[in-house]
C-alpha cells in the first residue's frame, strides 16, 4: 500500500488531497462504477472499453469465480452455477422470491435469506453480490491508480431494511468503505438536475431489470429533496422476459424444461423483448437438448397484450407517490426516465398518458444512476468545495413499526419521513410482575403484522416486577442516512434501566462478515493482519485529517485544557501510526474519538448558530 503522509504536529490541515471515491450502480442486470475526474463524472470501463459489467457470477468447483461477460457467456451451459439477477434474492427468504419454478438454481432455504448451492459450495446473495463489487473495486483501483477511500452504492429506493442491510454487507465483504447507500432514483435526479440546472418538481420513473422505483423530488439550487417515493422491488424487465417465456412455453406446448433449456429460452425471450422495442416482430428460436427446435415469432401486439398487467402495475405506485406528496400530475415539471426497461414503447406511452406530457429521455438510462452516485461520492469524500456542493434530503420508503397485541402493526416511523429520523414510543407490561417483554419490529404499510416484513425480534429482560401497566418501556427507532434502522428499548420507570440495541436480523453480524473476509483472503493468499493494519491506518488517518481541519477552523471553541487534551490524543495517535501494531492504532483512534466528543458537539451547535445568524443578517 501507498505510504501515508503525515504532516508536522500542530500544523493546520494541509490542503487536502483528492480522495479516490466511486459510485457503484449494483444493478439486477448490469453493474457500473463511476468517478468524478477533474470535475466531470465518468463511467470507468474495463480493459476492453466496456462500461457495463453484467451482474452475473459463475462459480467453479475449484473455487475460481467468473464475473461479468465471461460468466454471461456460460450461463446456458452451466446454469446451476451461474447466478444471474442475484439482486432479486438480496434480503429475501425463499418464500418471497418470484418465479422460483422458472429459476434454474438449487435453492437452499436458509433462515433470513435464501441461498444457492453451487459447485463451490452454498452461497448467499450477499457473497454473490460482493463478487460483483470486488471486480468493480479492482477496475476502479486499476484505472485510478490507488486505493479507494470510499464508495457510494446505489439501492432501489423501495428496498426495505433487510435488502439495504444485505447490500451494505456485500460492500463490506468486498472490502469497500461504504460511504453511503444512495437511492437509485435520487442518484439519477442528481445527475439529471446538475446536468440541466433543473429547478422545480420532478418525477423519476426507474424501471430496471428487477426493480421499479418512482420518486418525486423538489429540485432547487443546491438542494435535492425527495418528497415521496414508491415502487415495487419485485418488478422489472425480468418479469417481461418471464411473460414472453411463459407465452413461448404455451405456444410450443413444451413440457417442463431442464435448467439449460430453461436458461436458453429465457435468454431468447429477453432478446425478443429488446428486439421488439425497435421492430414489429421478433423471432424466438431455440434448439432444445432433446434435439427439438422451438421456432416462434412474437409480434408487438401480442407482446403488449401479455405484458399489459405489468405496465399497469407500475402506475399504481405513481399515483400513490403523487397522493403522498399531496400533488397532482399538473404539478410535475418533468418525468425523468431511468433504467433499460423504460426503452419499451408501451412504457413510454403509459407514462406519457398518465403525466400528460412526454417523458424526458435525454440521458443514458444505463449510466445515469452510476454517474449520480459518483457525484455524491465525491461530495461525501470531501472533494467538492463546500460552496459548490449540495444538500440531499431523502426519505424512508416503507413505514417502520412494532407488533402490538392482536398481531397488529403499530407504525412508529411513517413512510416518506425524511432521514435521518428517530421516534420513540412507550409500551408497558400486560401482567403483574412481568419481568420481560418481547418486541417484534416490522416494516410495511399493512395493518396486520402477518402482511408486513418481519425485521427483528428481541426480548428486553430484567424489568423489575411491578403491577401491570406500571413499567415504562421506551422503544426508540433510529434510521440513519443510509435508511438503516436500529432499535433501542429502555425501561426507566424505577430508575433501573434495562436496555437493548438491535440491528435487524437480515444483515450479517460483524463476526460473520469477518469470517467470510478471512475465508476469502485465505483463498486469495492475502494476509488478514496486513489487511486489518491497513484498514486501521486508513481510519486513523481519516480521523487525524478531520481533527486537524476541525482544529484549524474552530480551535477557539475549546478551553486551553481541553485543547491540550485533544492535541495530546492527536500526538499519541501520530506516534503509533507508523508502527506495525494494529491494536495500538485502533486504541489510539478510539481515544482520539473520545477526546473529540465534546468538541464535535460544540462544532454542531456553532454550525446551527452560524446558519441562523447568517439568516438574520440576510433578512434585514
Amino acid at each position: 500500500m501507498a505510504l501515508l503522509q503525515i504532516s508536522e504536529p500542530g500544523m493546520s490541515a494541509a490542503p487536502h488531497e483528492h480522495r479516490l471515491a466511486v459510485g457503484i450502480d449494483l444493478g439486477t442486470t448490469n453493474s457500473l462504477v463511476a468517478t468524478v475526474r477533474s470535475g466531470v463524472a465518468t463511467v470507468l470501463a474495463d480493459e476492453l472499453g466496456r462500461p457495463l459489467l453484467p451482474s452475473i457470477v459463475r462459480y467453479h468447483a475449484d473455487g475460481r469465480v467468473d464475473v461479468g461477460y465471461a460468466a454471461q457467456a456460460k450461463q446456458a451451459v452451466d446454469p446451476k452455477n451461474t447466478i444471474v439477477s442475484v439482486k432479486r434474492f438480496m434480503g429475501r427468504g425463499l418464500r418471497d422470491v418470484a418465479h422460483v419454478e422458472n429459476a434454474p438454481y438449487d435453492f437452499v432455504d436458509a433462515p433470513g435469506m435464501v441461498q444457492v448451492r453451487t459447485a463451490a459450495g452454498v452461497k448467499s446473495p450477499v457473497e454473490v453480490s460482493s463478487e460483483i463489487l470486488k471486480v468493480l473495486k479492482l477496475r476502479a483501483e486499476a484505472s485510478l491508480g490507488g486505493e479507494l477511500a470510499g464508495a457510494v452504492i446505489t439501492v432501489p429506493a423501495y428496498f426495505d431494511d433487510a435488502q439495504r442491510q444485505a447490500t451494505k454487507d456485500a460492500g463490506k465483504l468486498a472490502g469497500l468503505n461504504v460511504l453511503r447507500l444512495l437511492n437509485e432514483p435520487t442518484a439519477a435526479a442528481i445527475a439529471y438536475g446538475l446536468e440541466n440546472a433543473s429547478e422545480g418538481i420532478y418525477a423519476v420513473y426507474d424501471l430496471g431489470g428487477g426493480t421499479f422505483d418512482l420518486s418525486i423530488l423538489k429540485l432547487a439550487r443546491g438542494v435535492f429533496e425527495v418528497v415521496a417515493t414508491s415502487g415495487d422491488s419485485m418488478l422489472g424487465g425480468d418479469d417481461f422476459d418471464q411473460r414472453v417465456f411463459c407465452w413461448a412455453v404455451e405456444q410450443a406446448k413444451l413440457s417442463p424444461l431442464g435448467p439449460r433449456d430453461m436458461r436458453q429460452l429465457l435468454m431468447k425471450s429477453r432478446e425478443a423483448k429488446e428486439y421488439l422495442t425497435y421492430h414489429g416482430e421478433a423471432p424466438i428460436t431455440v434448439r432444445l437438448s432433446s434435439g427439438d427446435v422451438v421456432d416462434l415469432s412474437i409480434d408487438t401486439e401480442t407482446f403488449c397484450n401479455i405484458t399489459q398487467t405489468l405496465v399497469r402495475k407500475t402506475l399504481g405506485p405513481v399515483r400513490k407517490a403523487l397522493r403522498d406528496a399531496g400533488l397532482t400530475v399538473d404539478d410535475i415539471k418533468g418525468v425523468v426516465m431511468v433504467g433499460g426497461a423504460t426503452r419499451m414503447p408501451q412504457i413510454q406511452r403509459a407514462v406519457a398518458e398518465l403525466f400528460r406530457r412526454d417523458p424526458l429521455n435525454n440521458l443514458d438510462p444505463d449510466k445515469v444512476v452510476a454517474l449520480g452516485a459518483a457525484m455524491q461520492a465525491n461530495v461525501l469524500a470531501g472533494n467538492q468545495p463546500t460552496d459548490q456542493d449540495w444538500l440531499l434530503l431523502d426519505v424512508i420508503p416503507l413505514s417502520l413499526g412494532i407488533e402490538t397485541m392482536g398481531g397488529l402493526a403499530e407504525k412508529i416511523i411513517p413512510r416518506n419521513t425524511t432521514i435521518p429520523a428517530a421516534k420513540a414510543q412507550e409500551f408497558t407490561t400486560f401482567k403483574d410482575g412481568q419481568t420481560a417483554m418481547s418486541f417484534h419490529v416490522v416494516q410495511g404499510e399493512r395493518e396486520l403484522v402477518a402482511d408486513c416484513r418481519s425485521l427483528a425480534r428481541f426480548d428486553l429482560r430484567g424489568i423489575p416486577p411491578m403491577a401491570a401497566g406500571a413499567a415504562r418501556v421506551r422503544v426508540t427507532f433510529q434510521v440513519d442516512a443510509d435508511g438503516l434502522l436500529s432499535v433501542t428499548a429502555r425501561e426507566a420507570s424505577t430508575g433501573i434501566e434495562a436496555s437493548i440495541t438491535v440491528k435487524p436480523s437480515y444483515g450479517l453480524s460483524d463476526a460473520e462478515i469477518e469470517r467470510m473476509l478471512r475465508e476469502s483472503f485465505e483463498h486469495a493468499k492475502e494476509d488478514v493482519h496486513a489487511r486489518a493494519l491497513a484498514e486501521h491506518r486508513v481510519d486513523a488517518q481519516r480521523l487525524l485529517d478531520a481533527t486537524r481541519s476541525a482544529l484549524a477552523v474552530d480551535r477557539a471553541l475549546l478551553a486551553p485544557r481541553e485543547l491540550e487534551a485533544v492535541e495530546n490524543a492527536v500526538r499519541a495517535l501520530e506516534q503509533v501510526l507508523t508502527a506495525n501494531d494494529a491494536r495500538a492504532i485502533k486504541q489510539a483512534t478510539d481515544a482520539l474519538n473520545r477526546a473529540t466528543e465534546e468538541f464535535a458537539e460544540r462544532r454542531m451547535d456553532e454550525g446551527i448558530k452560524r446558519a441562523l445568524a447568517g439568516k438574520k443578517i440576510g433578512s434585514l
Binding site: R323, A422, D545, R603, G607, I608, A611
Partner: protein, 171 residues
Amino acid sequence: MHNHFDLFGLAPAFALDAAALERRYREIQSQVHPDRFAHAGDAERRASLQWTTRVNEAYRTLMDPVQRAKHILELHGIDLGFETNTQMPAEFLVQQLELREELEGAVTGKDAEALDRMRSELAANRKSLERQIGEAIDSRKDYAGAAGLVRKLMFLHRLDAEIEAAYEEVE
C-alpha cells in the same frame, strides 16, 4: 421539552411563514447533515446524526398543522395525548360516522372518483378548521378552545389516512 420554534429562531405561532421555515431548515441542515461528515471521526458523525435527526423532527412537527398546534399547546401545558377519551360534540361524531359510511360505499363500489370527491371536501374542511385554530391560538390565546378544535382536526387527518388506504383497495 424542546421548543421546536427556538431551534429555527422563530416565534411560536400557529400562523407559519413556511418559506422562511424551509429556508432556515435547509441552512441548518447544510451545517449539520451527515453528508458533511461522511469523512469525519466517529464523534462528529454521531453528533451530526443526532442533530440532523432533531432538526428533521422539529421541521416535520412545525410543517404539519396538527403537530404544530399540539406542540404549541404542549408549550402551554396542554397535552392532548393524555386526554384521548375526551367527549367530542355529538353532532361532530355523527358527521364522522356518516363520512365513514360514505367511504365504505366508495370502496365497495370501487369508485375512485368518489374518493377524489371526499378528499377535496375534506381538504376544504381542514382548511377552515386550521383557520379557526389559528384565530384561537394566535389572536385570542384561547388554548383550551384550540384544544377542542385540534381534536377535530385529528379526526379529519385520520379520515384522510383511511381514504388514502382505500385508494389501494379501489385501484
